[in-house]
């Protein structure tokens, strides 16, 4: 990958209740994560059963996924915070390696 001009980074994907999204975004911001992508109105089946997509008159219901890419040195805080969050909240996180072409966008 490095030969292809790509840089190794960490990708964190978080699925949480929509009303918790602001807290996770605040955590990401505080740990120096400069950008992320949000997917609202998730549909699927998981530990808590089936979840439907976006509600017509309630944007605080349903689930949201946040996808963030960050350098390795910012991971500890993010993971520690999310782990603490999931002690009593619904949600999951996926942490994986990823490669990006524009590292400056993520640091």
């Amino acid at each position: 990958m490095e030969q292809a001009g790509l840089t190794r980074m960490i990708k964190v994907e978080v699925v949480i209740e929509a009303e918790e999204a602001a807290d996770v975004e605040a955590l990401l911001r505080s740990e120096g994560v400069t950008g992320w992508t949000g997917l609202t109105g998730l549909t699927g089946v998981g530990h808590g059963g089936r979840h439907e997509g976006r509600l017509l008159f309630n944007e605080r219901g349903g689930q949201t996924m946040l996808v963030a890419v960050l350098p390795r040195d910012r991971l500890d805080g993010v993971v520690a915070g999310l782990t603490e969050l999931f002690r009593d909240r619904h949600g999951v996180m996926f942490v994986s390696e990823t490669w990006v072409s524009r590292p400056a966008y993520f640091s």
Binding site: A22, A26, D76, G77
Partner: protein, 1344 residues
């Protein structure tokens, strides 16, 4: 009430007498009565009255303000526990003060002066609660010093004067002449001290802000009358003052200094009453300066003008929120900036100087050179006003030049009036003996102080002088006398905080903060469940935990419940059933979190062991900084621009904390803390010694020490800030600093320090405990009350389901045909709509069909008022608007519309100019005096004839529509302007299908939003439409109406199976819930046929009749309604209109009081029942919603919002002071966010006491959890609930009781919280209400 009315009558008569005396004294000279004399120390003192012009003027002020306050208090204090005591205290204070100003002798004046002080402290303490008693004690202590000084001054004069000297006030010049100069000076100095104390001058000014703990009318009386003590004494004893030049100089200098210092503090205060208090001290400083300059006549006129001004401001202090709403919707001004602004100021100044010079040539100042300073002050005020009018808004057009002339004319009028009064009326107040050079020196010193204040003001506005800024914020704290240092905090170094630790702290802090729900500012009141952060628990558990964390009540008072049971409001059978059920274990069981001590922090322990006030200090410190930093424009200086709360407090707040907080070395200690709030929390918790497992408990307790401010911080945090975290950091730091100082070697005993160290290091307790017996008993009462109230509704629904069916019966509807209505009227689901719907249906005898739907009509948007830049979000807070819609003229009415906008621009420009002048360093003094005379008359009119005054103030509205069309590319700010046709079709279809209106359309479809009309009410938006974000719903109705009338949208709807006939016209209306009126927009000939317009005319007539009946029904429940209004619709209509217009009214309507159920189904399920305006009604047709899509929308949005409303009323009824905002009469609007009670403290979100309790203190709202009845199959509901965690929490934990009425077998079934449905008892035979039966039935729950 009776005592208050008697007091009002007596004081009104006194006021009339005072005016007669004033006229008499002006025309015929002093009026004197004497009943003999007494001898005092060999001197003769007459017993009687002596009323010259100054005394008559003061008497007019005192009795006038007293009468105004008493008249205002009749309704404003209705229901206050001490209304009678307050009335007597007011009568005593006014009487004593009247005797002060009319007493014929000096000893008589001193005697009544002392008595008036006692009466004033009784006025302050009349409420009898702890803050009022404390404030009254402060007043008594402070006044005592002044009273002793005055008595000593009298003794000096009596001893110094030759034997046999007359002690009559009329003979004071002789007494002064015969008394040695030293005694005269000493006597004058002591009298001046007494006056300065009463007038809250430096350094004895701190008593005045503390009186905010008293009711608002008490504040009006104090600030308008009592506080004029310095002026009263100076005017009445002027010969004494005039002969003591040194005293005059001292009084003048102190006055100038107070005017500058208090004026500066005022500009930094974010609470309205605090600003007014600082302003009063400053105004009294100006008055003292006038006295010092030898101008008692001018001081007298200032006292009267300012008194009327301040009385009006205090009594109308609730209007701040209304102005905030008006500012949001104001037409965007085009300011004049840069060089033109300077030119405007220079031109205005030149014009004012020319006017002043011209008047002075015609009528030279009487007492030159001192008077020149006052002429200059008047000219400066005029210049400020004129220049501000010129630059306020260029779009006002040429009229702004005409407006700018008004202050110049006012200047000429003022100078001429004062000149004539001083020559013709007040000529008895001779100039002082102060040499001219001293007058110049004093005037120069005053001018220098004023200039310094102006420079300080300018520098602070530029972000400089942080020390001044911090001092102004801290001026809101209690007097320093009560703030002895707790000890010293020693700085502690700390290693760098690891990223994992700070992230963990952030999340734990967020979890702790989430126990407090966000609340919205009062200019967009949105009901929220105060226990919403604990909805993972049962209500009983949540209330118990709140009780432990905050000290709130956890259930309905047992005595009240038993009384209701005796009165039959709780059915004995329901009690038996509830006791037998005894509740599932899950509801009864609680855990250690219900134990108060389990939530203690070190501060609580130190306070208990050492008797300190660590917790209170930390609360007060945090609260004043919250008010300053979160301020949304109340303080003239705005919020400090130094970042968030934590960084502001750490840097700015650290200045002066040694004295303000009571921690020596605080600044160095704070400087050693991290600049990031999350890291600071880690360091602070470590420094305090708390182990990791105690963090959440400590932070939860910290968050719940100031739940009001935390709720606002949570709202700000939702918008992307770190506010909740920062607030926790500040509150934690204040407490940790105080505890560290307390356990330091110079603090409390070492044994306490050891115990505290052991306490913080201990792990949290975890053993579960059961609810106490009393709580288990409370659960029985709660359930019995709920079942008693629910049973009649369930029976009515069961009967209707059995007899009529569960699906919609409409011409062309899904379940067959019915006679087609002439019009369909869609109302908001708000419980208040039910009353008017019921009466309209009865009056119309089947001509009108009514439906219920969320009042935002399914169209979420930001509304831009005509030419406004900002806007209001017209949707539930569950949604975020992405589109902006503007109100524009209806075609053909463009000129009318433009004229209305220009009129609003002029009004706002004038308001801006007056506001700027009132906040200026120089201009407030003359402004207050001049404006006061006008406002005094206005206050009288508003009190005596509120409806008449409101009608005069109402400006005609131009026909307006909402422009909904957009192509998806235009933007208004960050939102898309308008909706595309596709989006409109989507929204219109969703609205129609969700309310089950898919066929059988009538020729006229009226969409009725709702709003309310109240006056001088900070909670005004609380009566508006919650579904519209606390705004009126007319614009949402207009938006959907415009969509449904659009041909392209109808084509789109037709393509989706919704066929609106071409002849159907959709029109918007507004239901005013305070007035019971519905105003419907016009249908133009182009839009509708003559038949449709005839239907509209008939509908309007029936709505008027229905409104009258609804008003009768409401009048039977409104306290203070006359008996005629409870029978006669015409009188009822007049009565509710009076309530809406009355600025002293604290209960304009009952809002959503009584709400307990939500019914989603066809109207036929409830049409036969009188639901007493207590049930949310959402139209829904299960036959038109086979897959449950519409039901899912209803359960996840309207039901959720209804549950918030229900829970807010529930909690506020259980503890009006703990969960509600307490009594309105001590509310102090702060930061344009909300209210605090008294001088300072936590923000008070939620409903006021007057929103849930009547004038006798009896609860009008019964604390009932929401029951939701839906016309649906249980399995459909199961499917929906299984998909939504929120519904599972609300239903499973017992916040909502869910009942279905199945369209298959028409049976009712109740969900038991465990996922099992139980059949409800079979419906009894109940006769249905006939269509023509509109007989009003008083709800049994509130009947007396």
């Amino acid at each position: 009430m009776l005592l208050c009315r008697c007091t009002r009558t007596l004081l009104l008569l006194s006021f009339a007498g005072a005016i007669a005396l004033l006229v008499g004294s002006v025309l015929r000279g002093p009026v004197a009565w004497s009943w003999g004399s007494v001898t005092l120390g060999g001197h003769v003192a007459p017993v009687g009255w002596y009323v010259d012009v100054p005394a008559a003027l003061l008497l007019t002020l005192v009795t006038g303000v007293g009468a105004l306050v008493a008249a205002f208090s009749v309704r404003h204090l209705a229901g206050e526990p001490a209304q009678g005591r307050f009335a007597l205290a007011v009568l005593g204070a006014v009487t004593a003060t009247a005797l002060v100003v009319t007493s014929a002798s000096l000893p008589g004046l001193v005697l009544f002066w002392v008595l008036s002080g006692v009466a004033v402290s009784a006025v302050v303490g009349a409420r009898g609660d702890r803050p009022a008693r404390r404030a009254a004690a402060t007043v008594r202590r402070t006044f005592l010093a002044g009273d002793l000084a005055l008595v000593a001054g009298l003794v000096v004069l009596v001893v110094g004067a030759p034997t046999g000297t007359s002690l009559a006030r009329a003979d004071l010049p002789d007494l002064v002449q015969q008394t040695p100069a030293a005694a005269v000076v000493l006597g004058a100095a002591l009298a001046a001290i007494a006056g300065l104390v009463r007038s809250a001058q430096l350094p004895v000014h701190r008593w005045l802000p503390e009186t905010a703990a008293a009711a608002t009318p008490a504040s009006a009386l104090l600030h308008a009358g009592v506080v004029n003590g310095a002026g009263v004494l100076a005017v009445l004893w002027w010969p004494l003052y005039a002969s003591a030049g040194a005293v005059l100089v001292a009084v003048g200098l102190l006055g100038a200094l107070t005017a500058a210092v208090a004026g500066t503090a005022m500009r930094g205060r974010a609470d309205v009453k605090g600003r007014f208090a600082a302003s009063t001290s400053a105004q009294m400083g100006y008055l003292s300066l006038q006295v010092g300059l030898g101008l008692p006549g001018a001081a007298l006129l200032h006292a009267v003008g300012h008194g009327a001004y301040k009385a009006s401001l205090f009594l109308g202090s609730g209007e701040v929120v209304g102005r905030s709403v008006a500012d949001r919707d104001r037409p965007a001004p085009l300011r004049v900036d840069g060089g033109r602004r300077a030119v405007a100021l220079a031109g205005s100044t030149a014009a004012a100087v020319l006017v002043a010079a011209a008047v002075s040539l015609v009528l030279p100042p009487v007492h030159a050179p001192a008077s020149w300073l006052l002429v200059a002050a008047a000219a400066a005020t005029s210049a400020v006003l004129t220049s501000r009018l010129v630059v306020a808004d260029r779009r006002v057009g040429r009229r702004r030049w005409a407006m700018a002339v008004v202050p110049l004319l006012a200047l000429a009028g003022y100078l001429l009036t004062v000149g004539l009064l001083e020559r013709r009326v007040l000529d008895g107040l001779a100039p002082s003996s102060l040499p001219s050079v001293w007058q110049w020196a004093l005037a120069g010193a005053a001018a220098a102080v004023g200039a310094a204040a102006w420079v300080v003001d300018r520098e602070v506005r530029r972000g400089r002088l942080p020390r001044v800024r911090a001092w102004a914020v801290r001026s809101a704290l209690p007097p320093a006398r009560a703030r002895r240092a707790v000890g010293t905090a020693t700085p502690v170094g700390h290693p760098p905080v690891a990223a994992a630790d700070r992230a963990r702290a952030r999340v734990v802090a967020g979890r702790a903060a989430s126990t407090v729900v966000p609340t919205w500012p009062l200019d967009a009141f949105v009901a929220t469940n105060p226990l919403g952060g604990l909805d993972t628990l049962t209500p009983a558990q949540a209330f118990a935990r709140m009780s432990a964390m905050r000290g709130t009540r956890s259930h309905l008072d047992d005595d009240v419940a038993r009384r209701w049971w005796r009165e039959g409001r709780i059915s004995p059978a329901a009690v038996v059933e509830a006791r037998a059920a005894a509740g599932p274990a899950a509801e009864r069981a609680t855990d250690v979190s219900a134990d108060v001590r389990a939530w203690w922090t070190a501060g609580d322990l130190v306070d208990e062991l050492a008797g300190t006030d660590v917790v209170r200090r930390a609360d007060e410190e945090t609260a004043v900084w919250c008010a300053a930093v979160y301020d949304r424009g109340e303080a003239a200086w705005g919020a400090p621009a130094t970042g968030g709360l934590w960084s502001t407090w750490r840097v700015l707040g650290a200045r002066g904390a040694a004295r303000g907080l009571g921690v020596r070395g605080f600044r160095r200690w704070a400087a050693a803390l991290p600049s990031r709030p999350d890291e600071a929390i880690v360091v602070l918790l470590a420094q305090a010694g708390y182990p990791l497992e105690r963090w959440e408990q400590v932070l939860s307790r910290t968050a719940n020490r100031l739940p009001g401010w935390m709720s606002h911080a949570r709202l700000r945090a939702e918008q992307g800030g770190d506010d909740a975290l920062e607030l926790l950091a500040v509150r934690l730091a204040a407490e940790v600093a105080l505890v560290r100082a307390a356990v330091a070697p110079d603090g409390v005993a070492a044994a306490v320090a050891r115990e505290v160290a052991e306490f913080v290091a201990a792990p949290p307790a975890s053993a579960p405990t059961g609810l106490a017996d009393v709580d288990a008993e409370a659960l029985v009462w709660q359930r019995a009350l709920e079942e008693t109230r629910r049973r009649p509704l369930l029976d009515a629904v069961a009967v209707a389901a059995r007899d009529v069916g569960v699906t919609e019966v409409r011409a062309g509807g899904s379940a067959g045909t019915a006679p087609a209505p002439a019009a369909q009227v869609v109302w908001c689901i708000d419980v208040r709509s039910e009353r008017l719907r019921r009466h309209l249906e009865a009056v119309g005898s089947g001509r009108w069909e009514t439906l219920g739907f969320a009042g935002f009509f399914g169209v979420p948007f930001r509304h831009l008022a005509p030419e406004a830049a900002a806007g209001s979000d017209q949707c539930p807070v569950l949604l975020r608007p992405r589109n902006a819609l503007a109100s524009v003229a209806v075609p053909g009415h463009e000129r009318e519309f433009a004229a209305a906008v220009r009129a609003r621009r002029r009004a706002h420009a004038a308001g801006d100019a007056v506001h700027a002048a009132a906040e200026h360093a120089v201009s407030p003094f003359v402004l207050a005096e001049v404006a006061g005379y006008g406002l005094g008359v206005v206050s009288g009119l508003r009190t005596a004839a509120p409806r008449w005054w409101a009608d005069r103030r109402r400006s005609p509205a131009a026909p307006t529509q909402v422009r909904v069309a957009g192509d998806g590319t235009d933007h208004a700010g960050d939102l898309v302007a308008g909706f595309t046709v596709t989006e409109q079709v989507f929204l219109a279809e969703a609205a129609l299908r969700t309310m089950g209106l898919t066929s059988g359309f009538a020729p006229l479809l009226v969409l009725t939003g709702h709003g309310a009309t109240t006056t001088n009410n900070p909670f005004d938006t609380g009566y508006a439409c919650g579904a519209c974000g606390g705004n009126g719903g007319i614009v949402n109705a207009r938006a959907l109406a415009a969509m449904l009338n659009d041909r392209a949208v109808r084509d789109g709807l037709r393509g989706r199976g919704l066929d609106l006939p071409a002849a159907t016209v959709v029109v918007a209306g507004l239901h005013d819930t305070t007035l019971d009126t519905v105003e419907i927009d016009e249908v133009t000939p182009a839009a509708g046929t003559a038949e449709v317009r005839a239907v509209l005319a008939a509908l309007r007539a029936d709505l008027a009749a229905a409104g009258g009946r609804a008003s009768v029904e409401r009048a039977r429940m409104l306290p203070g309604a006359p008996s005629s209004a409870r029978q006669d619709p015409r009188r009822a209509t007049a009565h509710v209109a009076r309530r809406a217009a009355d600025w002293s009214e604290v209960r304009p309507e009952w809002g959503l009081v009584g709400n307990y159920a939500f019914v989603a189904g066809p109207r036929s399920l409830t049409a036969a029942a009188d639901l007493e305006g207590r049930v949310f009604l959402h139209s829904y047709d299960p036959a038109a919603d086979p897959d449950g899509t519409a039901l899912e929308v209803i359960l996840t949005a309207p039901v959720v919002v209804a549950q918030w409303i229900n829970a807010q009323y529930l909690a506020c009824a259980i503890d009006p002071d703990g969960f509600g905002s307490g009594s309105k009469v001590v509310h102090n609007v702060t930061g344009r966010i909300g209210v605090v009670s008294g001088a300072r403290g936590d923000l008070r979100p939620a409903l006021p006491l007057q929103g849930v309790a009547d004038a006798t203190g009896e609860l009008r709202h019964e604390p009932l959890r929401l029951m939701v009845v839906v016309a649906a199959r249980p399995e459909t509901v199961d499917t929906i609930v299984a998909r939504h965690d929120l519904l599972q929490r609300l239903l499973g934990n017992g916040w909502i009781t869910l009942v279905t009425v199945s369209p298959d077998d028409r049976r009712l079934r109740r969900w038991d919280g465990q996922g099992v449905w139980h059949d409800e008892p079979v419906a009894p035979a109940v006769p249905a209400r006939s269509a023509g039966d509109a007989a009003v039935r008083v709800p049994a729950a509130v009947a007396r």
